[in-house]
């Protein structure tokens, strides 16, 4: 597979995952904020931005309507849904011949739909419907990919991109919720039912959590569920499992290359999460743990870059 193609597939998938995530997080927060006093809401808007790793100019961040408009439709804000969707689509367009017609048409249609949605939609009660179409559009894309794309190397890069982005998003989300307070004193978070629900719903985890633990929401269980669940598709452990599996397959299919380092890094991260226990993490420093996983995820990205996407020319000619 061409290096450029592998890279485009990876980025297409990452951006699309992020589009879905942003749409969900904003939607969840808009709905929950309907129940809150304006003073609280202010704090929540700031957390929302932090959990998406976005910083907006003060003039925008002060006004909820502007925040939503910017996060959705401002092409000059790189983390806005429209900007990321445009990038996902342009990456797809670069590798158009590698995608099935159905995949391309889905991503193209989603892009055209969001492009043409007027901003008026946002406050006229249609917000939810649009976010829903975005989320469903992204999920449909992955379903179509599952059903129509040959599950070869390219498909594996799609998986890596999607799950790496998802893992990072979960980590950032946990950091923004738990980072606000001293983790040894969980009192305030403990009491804030709405916060806990929004955290879980931001990862589609509310119902899944209830099936395991009932609706008895506990911060350590929530953190444990989102970090370490082996079965839940948005937990960090689950995604790292998938990343490692995909990277292993890629390494086998491109056996000409030395991938020892990628293999070790992914395996180590997987082992860390497989054997970690939430009580130990909470007893220690949760934020430190999160930071460490985040660093490893980023290192993995750098390794992908130098092994597959843009290997230095000396390295290619030598092999």
């Amino acid at each position: 597979m061409l290096s450029r193609v592998a890279s485009s597939l990876y980025w297409m998938s990452r951006y699309l995952e992020r589009v879905e995530h942003s749409a969900r997080v904003i939607d969840v927060n808009l709905v929950l904020m309907l129940d809150q006093a304006p003073a609280d809401a202010d704090l929540r808007w700031h957390r929302l931005l932090r959990s998406l790793a976005v910083s907006l100019p003060e003039s925008v961040a002060a006004e909820p309507a502007k925040i939503v408009q910017t996060l959705m439709f401002d092409r000059d804000t790189p983390q806005s849904i429209i900007a990321m969707l445009a990038l996902a689509r342009s990456n797809a367009r670069e590798v158009r011949n590698q995608l099935s017609t159905e995949m391309w048409e889905q991503i193209n249609r989603l892009y055209l739909e969001v492009s043409s949605a007027a901003i008026d939609d946002v406050w006229d009660g249609q917000t939810h419907a649009l976010f829903r179409r975005i989320k469903e559009g992204a999920q449909l894309f992955h379903g179509i990919t599952e059903a129509t794309m040959r599950q070869d190397e390219g498909w594996q890069f799609v998986q890596v991109g999607r799950f790496l982005e998802r893992a990072e998003a979960t980590i950032t989300l946990l950091q923004s919720y738990f980072g606000e307070r001293n983790t040894t004193d969980l009192e305030s978070f403990d009491g804030d039912y709405l916060d806990q629900v929004s955290l879980l719903k931001s990862r589609t985890a509310f119902e899944a959590y209830c099936q395991v633990y009932t609706a008895d929401l506990q911060p350590d269980r929530i953190a444990g569920f989102l970090l370490l669940s082996a079965k839940f598709p948005h937990s960090v452990r689950f995604t790292v499992d998938r990343i490692q599996g995909a990277l292993q397959t890629i390494a086998e299919q491109t056996s000409a290359r030395k991938n020892g380092q990628i293999d070790r890094s992914a395996g180590k991260m997987r082992a860390t999460l497989d054997y970690a226990q939430i009580d130990e993490i909470m007893a220690g420093d949760l934020l430190l743990f999160l930071g460490d996983v985040q660093r490893q995820l980023r290192q993995l990205h750098a390794l992908l870059q130098e092994t597959y996407f843009q290997p230095p020319i000396q390295a290619i000619l030598a092999s």
């Binding site: 597979m1 061409l2 290096s3 367009r93 670069e94 491109t254 056996s255 290359r257």
Partner: protein, 490 residues
């Protein structure tokens, strides 16, 4: 069969009420307003469909193009402005008997032009014989000195050709222009067909339309033929200038149809005169390149040094015979518009046959008497720059202003070799579905020819339409659209 007056004043069938016949050849109707036999089925079907049903189908077709991303990039605006190529709902029909002539005529023409290219870059017999003036070749901007004496695989210079045909007033097809460099549009031919099959399924089934879907396979076989000897399973790639090229959709489409890798210049590198692509598993050798990048940009070491679309060292690899290119470099000499006037002579010289498809009458402006005539009749003629394509650099006399004519007069006097003139052709007209009515618009026809020692055509082509009423310019860059083209056996 219902008839109607050419003035459109009597009780004509409603959808055709504003359809006018004039001096131009009409594809659908004879001069007395009767549908030609091969159009009869379509005509009946159109009369049986309510206009709003047609409107609905036209919209469905348009949406399908948009969703498929079948767009071209408009230059001269913000980079990356995408437009769908305007598409007309009604197919253009060509009877099998006429197609047989087109097929033989184009095969003859391409065979001769290929022999011509070989001759010009080797022995120059035709130049020595004085059939084609030497000065014409050496003054051509697309002549590539670097190709002199270089053997290309199987002596095949042009593998992929798109030739523009128009109808003469008597209905015969004539050649207007050869495109021997990187002809485009074949993807529109193929996708028009896919869409129209859904729009008119019943009509399609009953019309005996000859299939064109095997084009991708045939193109692949043509490219495979060029592979260097000894490569049993050659690696073939399509080289695109990238997403900002106006034909990018076509490049991805063809690569997918053939199942070959779509590469950009930055994906390739040349090492020890061998071309490789960079893959996740290291370097992989490339044997044949179907390049959609112009000569000028293909290798910055040999041609334009500022090109970032090409591959440094590619020409050396080509010269060594380690990689084949389709089309070969330097084929532009044979589609120079001034050389066009000599193609009938070229056919006679190499094949000893009379040309099956006539040329359009052409005035060469470095001939003094012809130039004088042209300068006196600029308001009646079409003047074209010889090296341009896409409808750029053209003067259409009858539709021009005095200022434009004066501008061309100066340009012709300054550089007569750079221009030719032709009579203004009344391109044939075909019915189009425009704002809920059928109206006549001018059309041409571009069939696609594959050449691998012998010529092969898929039965069909791209019918380009000048969608503006009265306009004679069919190029998509100038407001033209396209139609599906059916070769039908009655």
């Amino acid at each position: 069969m219902p008839e109607f007056e050419t003035s459109g004043s009597t009780a004509s069938p409603r959808p055709f009420s504003s359809y006018e016949l004039d001096a131009a050849y009409d594809e659908m109707f004879t001069a007395d307003g009767v549908a030609r036999p091969h159009y009869a089925a379509l005509y009946d079907r159109l009369l049986s469909l309510p206009t709003d049903e047609l409107q609905r189908r036209a919209q469905a077709a348009e949406l399908s193009f948009l969703n498929q991303g079948i767009t071209f990039t408009v230059y001269g605006r913000e980079q990356g402005t995408e437009r769908i190529i305007p598409h007309d709902l009604l197919p253009r029909l060509i009877p099998g008997s006429e197609w047989a002539i087109v097929e033989r005529g184009l095969a003859q023409r391409i065979t001769a032009l290929n022999l011509f290219l070989k001759d010009v870059y080797h022995d120059g017999r035709i130049l020595a014989a004085g059939v084609v003036p030497r000065a014409l070749i050496y003054s051509c901007r697309h002549y590539r000195r670097e190709m002199r004496g270089l053997r290309v695989p199987h002596d095949i210079y042009v593998s992929v050709v798109g030739t523009d045909l128009v109808r003469l007033p008597d209905g015969r097809f004539a050649v207007l222009e050869d495109n021997l460099r990187v002809p485009s549009g074949v993807s529109y031919m193929l996708t028009n067909r896919q869409v129209l099959r859904h729009v008119f399924p019943r009509l399609f089934r009953n019309s005996g339309v000859r299939p064109i879907d095997h084009y991708g396979q045939a193109l692949l076989a043509t490219l495979r033929k060029l592979a260097p000897a000894g490569t049993s399973d050659p690696t073939i790639v399509l080289l695109t200038p990238g997403v900002y090229n106006s034909a990018y959709f076509e490049h991805t489409y063809l690569a997918r149809q053939m199942g070959i890798e779509l590469v950009e210049g930055r994906d390739l590198l040349v090492h020890d005169d061998v071309v490789y692509m960079r893959t996740t598993a290291g370097l992989r050798r490339v044997d044949v390149i179907y390049r959609r990048v112009d000569d000028d940009f293909i290798d910055p070491l040999v041609f334009r040094p500022d090109s970032i679309l090409g591959v440094a060292g590619l020409f050396n690899a080509y010269r060594t015979g380690n990689v084949a290119l389709a089309n070969a470099i330097g084929t532009g000499i044979a589609d120079d518009k001034a050389l066009y006037a000599y193609v009938p002579a070229i056919i006679r010289y190499y094949l000893g046959e009379e040309p099956i498809l006539p040329n359009v009458e052409t005035y060469l402006l470095n001939d003094e008497s012809q130039r004088r005539y042209v300068l006196e009749h600029l308001d009646q003629l079409v003047v074209k720059a010889v090296g341009e394509s896409g409808g750029y650099g053209m003067l259409i006399g009858p539709h021009s202003t005095a200022e434009q004519r004066e501008e061309f007069r100066q340009r012709i006097i300054a550089e007569p070799r750079n221009y030719i003139a032709q009579p203004t052709l009344a391109l044939s007209r075909a019915p189009c579905f425009i704002y809920g009515q059928f109206e006549a618009r001018h059309v041409d026809l571009r069939p696609y020819i594959l050449f691998s020692g012998e010529a092969m055509l898929v039965p069909g082509g791209l019918t380009r339409v000048a969608l503006e009423r009265g306009s004679l310019v069919v190029n998509s860059s100038q407001g033209g659209g396209s139609k599906d083209t059916w070769v039908v056996d009655q």
